[in-house]
Each structure stands twice: as C-alpha cells, then as structure tokens.
Homo-oligomer: 468 residues x 3
C-alpha cells in the first residue's frame, strides 16, 4: 500500500499515523462560532449584549489597556467616577491614551494635551488657537460602560441597539448575597471554555483522581470536586428561552432513596450560571447559583472569564468557599483553573485549564469523534450558529431584564429529592424521569415573583416526593 492510496480507509488501522496527518486549519464553519472580531458574524452578535471588560479593581490612577472582542481599548475611571472605554490611539496624532493622565473629567493625552470625555467628546485641544473648531468636528471612538459589583461592563454594538443589562434574580437573592468578582485568563478560544460548562461528564473524569501516582495528597485532593461528583451522571440537555439558551440536568443516586438533580443554565451568547461547587450540593434540598460568568473573547486564541462568585449562607452553609481567593485571574474552587502553574504541575495534575487550552488554540471540530456524552456541546454550537444566522426568534435574541424590581429567573440549581432506587438500567431511567420532573418545577418559577420563587420550589418539591 503506497502513501495516499485509499488514505481514509487505511487510517482505520493500528499504527496508522502516516495516513492521519491533518492540515490543522480552522474551517469556515468553525470560524462562524469561534471568531468574534469586528464585522464577523459571531463578533457582531456578541456586540448586541453587554459584556464584562475587566474588574473594577484594575482601574486605578492610571489607565488600563484591555482587549475584548479583538478590540484593544483604554479603560479608566476619571476622578468624578465616570468609567471610560476609549480607542487607544489619540485622535490627534495617535499617541496611546494608556500614557494619558486621568483628569477630574476625562483623560488627557500626554503628547499635546487633548482631553477626552468618557463618551469620546473632545473637551480641550490646548496647542490649538482659541477659535479652533476641532472640538466640534472630531469625536474619539468610545463605548458605553458602567460598573456593577466590581465588574466593568461595556457595550460594543451600534448605539441604537443597546439593550438593558440582563438582571437575574440570583444577583440579589437570597438576601445577603455577596457578589465577589473574579477573572480567569485562558490561552484558547472562548468557545472551548463555554462548552466546558455544558460538558458535565468531565467532572467524573478530570476532577476524579486524574493525577499521577505519588502526587502530594493535599494537591491531589484539591484537584477533585466533592465525592458526589465522581459518579457518572444521567445527563439530559434542553434548549431554553426559545433557543436563546440551554441547560442540562445531571441526575445521580446519592443514597438508596435519594436522587441529586443538578441543573446548569447557559444563555447566549456567552453567559452561564453554575450551581454549587462544594459537597453540600449533593446534600441540601434546593440551592441555586454559586457562580455567574461570562466567557469573553479576547482574540481568536485568548479569552477571559469574568464573573461573580455568589456568597451566601444558603448556597454554602459550611463556608467551603473563600472570597479572599477570588480576584484578578484567580478563583477559589479547584486547582488547575489558571495558567499560573508550572508545566510539571500541569502534567502531574491536569485541570480544566490544561484540558481546555490544549484542545488547540482554536479547537478543530472536524477532527472530533463525538459520542453520546457530547450532545450538549454540539447543541450549544448549533444554537450559536442559528442565533448568529438570525434563525432564533427575534423577540428573544437577548435575555432582557424585566420591569423595575423584577428579574429573570435562572434555572441553575441543585436539588435533592426522595426517590427510591430500582437498581440497574431501570434506575438510570428513573433518575432521568426525576430530572425532567424537577426541571418542570424549576420552569414554573418564570411565572412567580422573585421573592416567592424559593418558597415555591420548596413547596412543589415536597408535593413531588412527600418531603425529605
């Protein structure tokens, strides 16, 4: 058999590497869902939503260069408290405003002193004669921005299409919830990190003693999620909100008469809410969001997660979480989330960071061999493709916040229900049915005022299983 002859067939053999040397090019179809530069389909779609840009703590007495959606910008907070997101190069002669001096109002270019307000207006041109009309005719490139609980959000789309910020109930309930901002930088395309959230199976592999022998015991333990997560779950994926989002239900039998139902919701284009990350997830009757996060493209091969860890006594009564460990490029759950470890550490105890970033800078979907466990990943890709192509119902392309005082309900949760086991494959079917019933109850909360949603859930779960 000579090279090139019937290569496709030849590759289905042991030691068939010679027939499997692919070109590693990102395909046009793959670019549709991965590339988010200006003018690209996904880039334009993402620009119709508020996107987090950086942490509030990154804005100090000097400006900060940020890169979001392939655009390099200078972010700053002027002394009056306004947040600005400006094009980096001065409209006069191009000097970068990262070397500008923050003023009481706006920022001043260091070279010839042009002064910019946060909306791009030019307030002063000190080297020009008194009568100069430059201030009226030139506007500097700027984007709207605001701060919320330690995160700076920006809007990068056409001004006329600027939406309200999507306000989920989990941001403010349970009462006393504290949103602690964090970020995580990943050297890979944004979509790989977004997909990871809908890919719950990996919890039972990557986060389950996937380390070399002889590893330090404390480190090995830090790589794993709680015991409950190690069981291979019964998973189903569902489209939500007319195709503008999706969720999965993960059911596991945690006791002879108990099933743990976990739900995780994603909203297009790049938002996710994750349920509890600590062992009580599999023990408490009903808990909600532990982490809200956006997966934001930096460029094709870099992304940043920005979001909040939710701290309150309901989601984490044992106080496993630690707000001190959340902040710029750090997070308080699991080892292996960040780029900060040595290569040897990464090899000996691989984490999400390694699993995702090593899928290549941009994962090549055409080289994948997906199985049943990958249905969710392929569903989120399809929903993104449809949304980008304008096939998703127009009236819900963005999860708009509701009227004053009201909020979007989120379906992310952990629930423990009483369901007696039946053993074997039949039990897996029973778990699946249980998951669907809990999900139906969760969806009822759309019609319930925010303050009554928790009570509604508890009451309806009791109706379902007779109480724990």
């Amino acid at each position: 058999m000579s090279a090139g002859t019937n290569a496709k067939e030849s590759s289905r053999i042991p030691y068939g590497g010679y027939y499997r040397r692919d070109d590693n090019e990102v395909s046009a179809a793959e670019r549709i869902v991965t590339h988010a530069g200006p003018g690209s389909p996904m880039g334009e779609y993402m620009r119709r939503f508020w996107q987090p840009v950086c942490l509030s703590e990154e804005l100090t007495d000097v400006p900060k260069v940020v890169q979001i959606l392939h655009e390099r910008l200078v972010a700053f907070r002027d002394r009056s408290g306004q947040v600005g997101l400006l094009f980096p190069h001065c409209s006069h002669r191009g000097t970068s405003l990262e070397f500008g001096i923050v003023q009481q109002r706006g920022i001043r270019c260091c070279y010839h002193g042009w002064l910019y307000d946060v909306d791009g207006r030019i307030l002063e041109t000190p080297c020009e004669p008194a009568g100069s009309r430059i201030k009226e005719t030139v506007f500097h490139g700027a984007y709207p921005a605001f701060e919320r609980d330690g995160i700076v959000f920006g809007y990068f789309g056409p001004p006329s299409e600027k939406p309200d910020f999507a306000e989920y109930d989990s941001y403010t309930i349970p009462e006393g919830t504290r949103l602690v901002p964090f970020s995580n930088l990943y050297e890979c395309n944004w979509l790989q990190v977004f997909e990871n959230l809908i890919d719950h199976f990996h919890s039972a592999v990557l986060h389950n003693n996937m380390t070399v022998d002889g590893l330090d015991a404390a480190l090995a333990a830090g790589m794993n999620l709680g015991e409950g997560f190690r069981e291979m779950p019964v998973i189903e994926w569902h489209t939500t909100r007319d195709g503008n989002g999706m969720l999965f239900t993960a059911g596991r039998r945690v006791a002879p008469d108990r099933v743990w139902v976990r739900t995780t919701e994603l909203a297009l284009p790049n938002y996710a809410a994750t349920a509890s990350l600590v062992p009580t997830a599999a023990e408490l009757r009903h808990t909600t969001v532990a982490m809200s996060r956006w997966q934001v493209p930096v460029d094709d091969e870099n992304m940043i997660v920005l979001g909040w860890r939710h701290f309150n006594d309901e989601i984490d009564p044992q106080h496993y979480g630690n707000a001190q460990d959340c902040g710029y490029d750090k997070i308080d759950f699991l080892e292996g989330q960040t780029r900060h470890r040595t290569y040897e550490e990464k090899q000996r105890a691989p984490g999400d960071y390694e699993a995702m970033t090593s899928q290549r800078p941009v994962a090549l979907h055409h080289l994948e061999n997906p199985g049943r466990s990958d249905v969710g990943v392929y569903l989120i890709r399809r929903l993104l493709r449809e949304a980008v192509a304008g096939k998703t119902p127009a009236d819900s392309t963005r999860p708009l916040a509701k009227a004053e005082g009201e909020t979007l309900s989120t379906y992310t949760s952990d629930n423990v229900v009483r369901v007696a086991g039946v053993g074997g494959e039949a039990d897996r079917e029973l778990i699946a049915t249980t998951c669907r019933e809990v999900l139906a109850i969760l969806k009822e909360t759309d019609q319930v005022p925010r303050q009554q949603r928790r009570a509604h859930m508890l009451s309806r779960l009791d109706e379902f299983d007779g109480g724990l």
Copy 2:
C-alpha cells in the same frame, strides 16, 4: 440605525466607537515616507547620504551586528584601525562573520578561515589549493565606513554617488567644543522621532507636569524642561536650502521687554540640530547647537538616534549637562527618552519615548486630525515626499560640505532680544515679527566665514534692538 449604514456620519456622535473600527493598515502614501528598505523610494534616497551606524565604543575585540536601513551587517575595527561594514554571511558557505575573529588586517570567518578586508576583498582561503582563483573572482558585500568623534558612519548607496560628509560649523565652533556621542533606540518608525523635533508645541504639554499626582518630586522635576519652555510659543515653520531642509522659529515673551527666539533646523533626509536644552536657553543673548543627531531607520518598526551632545562653555555656562550620562542608548537631558523604564514608570510619568512609540509601530497619518499646531509636521512630510520623488532641486539634494576649512552654517540657535511687550493678541503678532527678523539675521551667516559668524550675529542683534 444599523451597522454600516452611513458609518462616516454616524461616527460623529458620542459613544460612536462601533462606527470607528479602522483597519490599521499603513497606506501606500505613508510607506513612501516611512519605509526605508533596500529598493524603496525613501530607502534609496537615504542611501545617498552618510549615515551613522553605531558608536565607536561598540567596536571591540569582537565584531558587532548592526541593523541600519533594514540591512543587517557586521561592523568591526581591525587591529590596524580600519573600520569594516560587511554583509554578515560569509561568501563561502554562509557562516556569520559575527563569529569571525578580528585580524591585524580584516576579519576571518571561523568556519573555514576565509579572510576579508574592510572593502570586501578576500585575502585568504586557507582550505583551498595554492592555485585557487577564488580570491580574484569573489568579492564580499561591503560598505565604506569611517569614524568621527566616537560615531561610526557608513555609506550604503552606489559607490559612484558617494558624497562628502556634510560638515557643519557647529561641530568645531565655538572653539573647545567637545562632541560626545550618544544613541537612543526607539521601537517605532524613524519618522515619528524626526517629526517630534519639529513639533515644538509638545514641549509645553508633555514636558510640563504631565504626570500623575503623588509622583516622586525629583522624578516629576526630571520630566520637565526648564521654566521658559512651559509657555505656549508663537511658532512659524520655514523651508530652507531650496527644500532640502526646514526650520521653525519659536518666540516667547520671557520678560516685559524681552523675547526669546529659538530656532531649530532639520536637514533632509534625517538630520537635526537642536538648540540649548537647559534654562539658560531663555536667558543668553545668542547660543547655538546643543545636539546634532541623525534619525536612522533600523527597520519599519525600529529606529535609532545617533548623534553628539555638544559641550562648551558658551552653550551651557552653568554646566547643567553631563557628558557621563551620554553613551550607548542613554542621554543626559530629561527623563523618558529611553525604553529602559518600567511600564508603571512610563504610565505615571510619560516621556518622549512613550509619546512617540505609542503612536503605533508606524503612525497612521490617515487617522490623524491635525490642527494649526501640526503645520511643521505636515511640512516635513511634504518635503520628504518631494525629495524622494526627485522634485527638489537636484544641485542641493545633499547638504554638501564646502571647500577645505569652510563649513555649512547651521541656523539652530537661541536668541534673547529686547522688544517691549504690547499685550494681548498684538503681542503675539509682535513676537512673530521679531522671530522673522532674527531668522533673517541668522541666514546672513551663510555668507560669513565660519570664524566670524558669532561676532556677526552679536553685532547684528545689537543693531536690531540697540543692545540688551
């Protein structure tokens, strides 16, 4: 309003960033004046002049790799004192002569021992048989070079068009002048640094307390030019030497009856002479050149300044300057001239280095919004375009040195004259007129022998204002 609709018009609004995302490509017109590679219009024009290459101190007992006008060369001084500028790769089999061994005459390739003279002749090929004719048939690529006051100069054009070195009077007068060589590397196109010299307005902004609050007081002071420079000057730009150069006059009222007239001259393609950099500039009757410098392209996105600081008692009687601080990539005036500071230092106290290099690797002229203060910058660009296109009078395309013992007169100077103020806008007009009259006197020195130029200036200034 949807994306792309009437984008030009839409961009003239607050928060109009979405309509202002430019492609950032260097245009063909911009390349004409910025790109200096072999065969390019500007590259060929520049190659008709002697260009500085490195400091003499960089040539030691091992060769030195230099890059000038996009060409990588090996510079060395052989033990007989000859300076060589050779193509880096051995004509035999390509080994780099940067690993060659400097000889009494020439340099020897380490691999097979071919020995090269500074003119590219091959003197020895030791592995070849006695009768080999390689030495007669092969010449190695070489450029002429010489040393002058600590700077190595090279000529990179066609041998038949090699000019004399342009000898300015300021190199040798006043008597006792000491030329101290220095260099400065900038990570940007050469033209940005050349333009900065004709852009005197920035002195009143960048060099005038343009730092964050709370900065160390000594550092803050080090960022500023003397007090006189903080006033916004009355500036006019003039073409000189039939379009082969230009200058500006900057007039400032420094006392009720005194006007300080400063002139700075540039000569095409990339030479400039700067007047005093210390406070006495605004106090003394007439002083001349404090710095002679060439702005030399390394490649499109890197350049090097090579030149001399002039030390003598006339230009700096208070000895503010410090020859010890001049040398390889260092200079004794103002902080912020070099790449050596931390990013934080650069942000807190931006200097010329930050202002110029952050204009982008190659500044994009088509994105600028020039005002009245930018006339000089646009004039130097126009003069360069015309010279490159061959439209500048042919008999003066290079500032040729005059006959033996004579030199070119340079118009760079500081002058203080007695002119009573008239207040308001009329005073600015009076200052402008004063500048023009001082310039007329300066130009008379073209016809005056070098040794009598200073006396001529002093006498004519006294005629003009009756003496100080």
Copy 3:
C-alpha cells in the same frame, strides 16, 4: 553607474555592497534537500527509515512532547514497558495527551478519560454508554516505536514499507562496547549539521585556535581537537553502497614514515559514523567508530542530533572520553557543540554550533562560493537529490540489516600505516594513494563475518606496509 545597471558585474568591486543585497529566499531546489515536512520529497524519503525520536531517559511517569520531521507527537512508556508515539490531540475532543495519565497499558486522556494503546487503538471511552461502538470505529494516529540502548526510535512511513532497523557491526564490536546515548539540539536546518560531518577541512580551521586573544587558556584548549587534526589533510570523497552513502578519506603525514588515514562514512538519508575524536586517533594502528548519530529534522529551522558515543578500550585506551558528560543536549567532546553558551562566549570562542547555526536558519546554497574543499558537501547534496528523486538503485535505498547474527560493516575508521615521506607535492599525492589503498582494504570487510573483521584489517594492513 546608477543602481540596477549591470548589477551582476558591478558587484565584483570593492565596497560593492549596494549591488549585492539578495532576497534571502530559500529556493525550490534548496527546499528539496532541506525540507522534511509530511508530503515533501525529503520528508517522505526520510519516513522510509527508522528515526531516533528522543532519549529513553526523557520518558518518565509523565508523557513527553517531541517534534520530529515537522510532526508534533506525544511519546510515553506505559507501565508495562511499551513505548507509544501518538498524535498529541485526543481523538475525542482534542485535549492534548501530554496532559494524559500514563496507565498500566496505554495512556488516558485527562478530560473524558479515553484510553489509548500504543498502536492507537481506543481501549476505553468511560463517558459513553455500555454499547458504544466508538472503540471499534475510531483509531488514534500512532507510529511504531522501540527502544535501543537508551534511544527511542520511531517509524513514520507507510506501515507496509517499514524496514528492519539497520544494524551496524560497530554497535556490538569490539566486545564490551558500551553505547551511551546523547542528543544535541541545533537551531538550524538538519542538512547543515549533516554536511558538517563530511566537511573535514573545518577541523583544521574552526578547531584550531580560532579564538580571540586573551581567552582563558583552558577554554581555548577545549575548543581544539588533538594536535593531529590541525594539519590541513589530503581529502578525497567517495560514493558508497550504490549511491546510498558516501565517505571521505583524510590523509595526514604524522611522522617521517607514518601516514594517518581517517575515514568517515555517512549513510542516507541522515546517518553518520564518526571515528575517534581523541589524540590516539592519529597514533593507533586501527580503530573504528567513536560516535554513531542521526541528524533529524525537527522543523525547517531546527534539528536534533541523536546518537551514541561508543565507549570501549580499543577506541579510547587512554579514556579521554567521559560518559558522564553525554546525555540530553550534551556531549563529551569539544566545547561549542551546544546552544548553552552566552553570546559573548560564542563570539570569543566560536564552535561548531555557531558555525552551523549562523549559516542562516536554512543555508542558501545559491549564495555560496564553493571551492575544491567543498566537493564532499556538494556530493552529499547530489546523492540526497538523486535518492529523493528515486534515481538511486531501488534494491539498496535503505541499508538493510543482514540475516540474524550478522551486521552491516561500517567503513569509518582511523588507521596509521608506515609510508616513508617523499616531500612536497609528491608526498601529498603519495598520501592520497595510501588513502585509496587503505579504503580498498576496508571495503573487503563487507565479505568478512563480523567477528573476523578486525583481524582481517590488521592482517591486511601488515601485508600493505610490512607492519609498524
């Protein structure tokens, strides 16, 4: 003379650099012999031979990323001792197997647990349902591999054309021979390093006091080969094995009645055996291989030497060599073989590393000016071109090992014979004749069983010169 006019002729002048600014592009003809990527002529040719990949010591309890012939692979040794060479990205969703966990049998991807055997079979897909057929339908890209005396070898060609490993007698005789593995990484194309082996003239230049004055004496000595090597040798190059290899003979008069005949053999595509590297080379009657090595392309601009230093009492009775200094990217002869020195050290005492890597990332043959001393280099290029083009006799395109217990004879050797000098040019002719006669004797050993080859040589050399 204006630019571009008769440039070829104009370049043959002193200071003619302006007319000699070449484009530095690797030509198509040069790529034929230098480029070894998948599908390229040289790449496909090289893939018909076993190639060394890394040292055994590099395979530990974690996998190792290697790059060979432009292909990035994950190498590992599973706990049962099998060596695997797998495509890096998991066949499931692309996570790199460099973060996989080595198992008793095979390696497991960290993300979803797919388990791979060394031949690319998928043994487990733990997230998939019990009945999944993925394991039968998907094969992972893999290459055959084995270990031999501390080196991992792989075969990257079509499975049906996999050859036997070429077994040379020098690997096992003299009895007691110890093969000590080593590697050397070079930042240049593989061919430059291969050519260096056939280019014996450089020994008399590069390894002969080619250092700056004042260098530390011990270091200077470490740059030189033994005294015998400093004489300019009488060299002849010969094609061997029907064009599948070549050798050179280097003759030097080492005493009034003694001639030292050194032979070095190369086998296509990239194998070489080098004779003694220590002073006894020029003193002993007959010694054989001191080093066997493969010059392996990593990519166009990087290569790796992998091979063995041969230690036995016959080749190095004085024990100049030191096995402790051989290993990953280190070797025990001469300074200047590796990239590990500072730039200053490299300039002051250039070695093979500098001579070869500075020929450019890929040497440009069209800019060379070869002489008589370069005949060998041009011969190896021609043999490679012919072999790649399929013009070399098919029955010997690979140096196949002979039947069980037998081995290939290698012609690499040092021999000292008694031949009285005749002086002057005639003596050089006499040395050449002597070399040819010794070579003829060496070639007789093809027909001699491996255990009798040494005795045969000693006996025939005695016949030739009457004994030492």
